[in-house]
Symmetry: C2
Subunit: 238 residues, 2 copies
């Protein structure tokens, strides 16, 4: 078992984090389009999307039998499966992996649900440190406004209803996400987040995100381009 | 999150551990009958039997997509679920819980599969230390003989086929279970096993198991009997 360490693989890993309504998925989608337009092959992966435990998580959520411990372990299992089959192979193969949420989502959520921070960090020790982890910081009221105008219904666990913070789902959501926000803020330095002011206009944020990503990929993209198109370059030189 | 600690609950927890073919389940079944005949109410629980992840584990095993990490996490999830709903409530209610395998099975199996011992111990830190943990120690050849005469077919993961120790399932089983055996031996002192010589005749082992169990339950059983039958006793005294 490797301790949690910076990736020594030829690939690169860029992830986004932030509370619901921070706009992180929009920013990642825009970054993805940009990166693709630059001709860089990439793999896109989302938190909690593996086939292995999806049904179990759904069932547990439906029956509301998940405890903080099982909730945490199920997500870790899901992530471990996805890490092995979707993240690690492309990293080893030298590809760019873009992740919508990463282990920091678990750091934040699980500790807010009462799990020991040390325990959670140890749980994810098999993962690798990303090349770049963006944290989209946004005040809770701004996030609430975005969520409530954009969506019909808040979900039970998303609103932290299992924590018994409030019987009102909207209020529970606000209290729960506020705590998640605090948890993200508290870990920002420890995990080395690139903090983005998520109240800025979308294009302005994207400009920063692209610049920081391209900077982080500097050596990587150059080498990839050379590796991929050596004949093209030599032809141009003739 | 409580660290792994002796249970401070009014109930008692007795578990059995050992490699396949050690005879631990037979011994626990006999102990269960004896305890029931003594009028002590009990709860029986088995490793890897919770509804929550059964389907997922089955699917992962069938497709052989489980890695040591996901294998380990799935079992931990299963255990956490079962611990919350089947083990903790009876312990809090003052009952006796008998467990066919406990967290030490994970300590042994997961580390043999290559997981870090510290990581695995941390993973199960939410559990409680049993009142009594029997370890049925048996030489690998004795266990092999029992298994091969009693059963038709060895199972893929049970034989550790995922570890690539041998292409022959019987040989793989022998090598894998030998390592599990070593792991149990290595942790015996650390976790405080009551070691039973599992080559002794069944009745002889059971005699020891009952004696040690009744000794461990001494204060407990007396109190239970008094609590349960106060009127009966007072009638007899009239």
């Amino acid at each position: 078992m490797e301790p949690f360490a910076p990736s020594s693989f030829p690939g690169r890993l860029v992830v986004v984090e932030g509370i619901d309504g921070s706009g992180k998925s929009t920013q990642l989608m825009l970054l993805r389009k940009f990166v693709e337009s630059e001709g860089i092959p990439l793999i896109f992966t989302e938190w909690n999307s593996s086939e292995l435990v999806r049904e179990t998580t759904k069932r547990g959520k439906r029956k509301q039998t998940l405890t903080p411990t099982t909730f945490s372990l199920l997500h870790a299992t899901d992530f471990a499966h996805r890490f092995t089959y979707q993240i690690l192979p492309p990293l080893k193969a030298g590809m760019l992996v873009l992740g919508d949420r990463y282990i920091y989502t678990a750091y934040a959520r699980d500790t807010v649900r009462g799990m020991d921070p040390e325990w959670v960090r140890n749980l994810y020790r098999f993962a690798v440190r990303p090349t770049l982890a963006f944290y989209f910081r946004v005040p809770i009221e701004v996030a609430m406004k975005r969520i409530l105008t954009g969506r019909v219904k808040l979900k039970y666990y998303e609103a932290g209803m299992d924590m018994g913070l409030s019987g009102d789902i909207q209020e529970s959501f606000r209290l729960f996400q506020s705590r998640i926000l605090q948890a993200y803020d508290a870990m920002a330095e420890e995990v080395g987040f690139e903090v983005i002011d998520a109240t800025l206009p979308v294009n302005e944020q994207q400009r920063i995100v692209r610049a920081k990503t391209m900077k982080a990929l500097e050596g990587y993209t150059t080498r990839r381009h050379i590796e991929r198109m050596p004949r093209l370059y030599s032809r141009e030189g003739q």
